[in-house]
Amino acid sequence: MEAMEHYCEHEQEVARAVRTGFWSPELREHAERCEACTESMLVASWLMETEQQAEVTVPEAGLVWWKAERRMRRERVERALRPVLIAERVSAAAVLAALTVSAVWLAAATPSLTSALAGGVAVLAISAGSALYVAHSWK
């Protein structure tokens, strides 16, 4: 069965007293006989002890600032290049659509099978070349 939840309005004061080391006699007396405050005292003391013992190294503020500036510049460049990339993709799609229409038209308009095949191969080669060029430029 789950234990009944027991709160005390002095818990935060007790936690503060553990952090600051300042105990009023009344609070100390209360904490010793209140179950919730005793538990708060245990947890707060344990956490504070571990916090004080922890060896924490942080980079210099200047380094963090420099990295942030560098990243902001990089994102600015990426934002500026975004319309160019979109234009490239749209152009590539338009070229491929035009080539497909041309291939269909060429096949229908040319009576000779050889000419149609040659035309088809040429169109496919141009399409493949364009696609490769665009794919390479995206990289």
């Binding site: 538990e39 571990t50 963090v64």
Partner: protein, 184 residues
Amino acid sequence: MIDALTIRAPAASDEDEAALERFVMTEAQFQEFYTATARPLKLYLSRLTGSQTLADDLVQESYYRFLRAELPALDAAQRKNYLFRIGTNLSRDHFRQSKFQGLPLEDRAGARNIASEVEAASDVRSVLNEIPHRERELVWLAYVEGASHREIAEVTGLKEASVRPLLFRARQKLAALIRAKGGK
């Protein structure tokens, strides 16, 4: 209030675009803010994630997001709460992502670490890793950072009324673990 803060929306005009190129504070102001907050933030994130390396990355990311955010006038405590909120969310994202991808979680790996097992009674990580991520957030903010229930609600995104029962359960679990490990 933190709830009133909004992250800058994508730029709609040249003027907005130019505003995006600025940080929320100058380098001198940042130095002062960083000096006051970096150590507690790093410690908080390393306790949440169980990894110093990951905490380093999250600290850098937290400050970057803070610098790029659009903030109304905030006092020092509110700025710190906002920074901790960013860090908390980043840590949760990492935790969810690791779980989703089925990768070993940093903190679970930490708990399995042999050295940690040897020092089980005194190693903070091994004890803290036994309670859920959100409970770690609550106890750390309440007992180390000395945050009020309202501030904890701001940092964690919980309702203020929910903080008390959740914190109670977290504290109860942690106290039992500390006693079991012979902490006191």
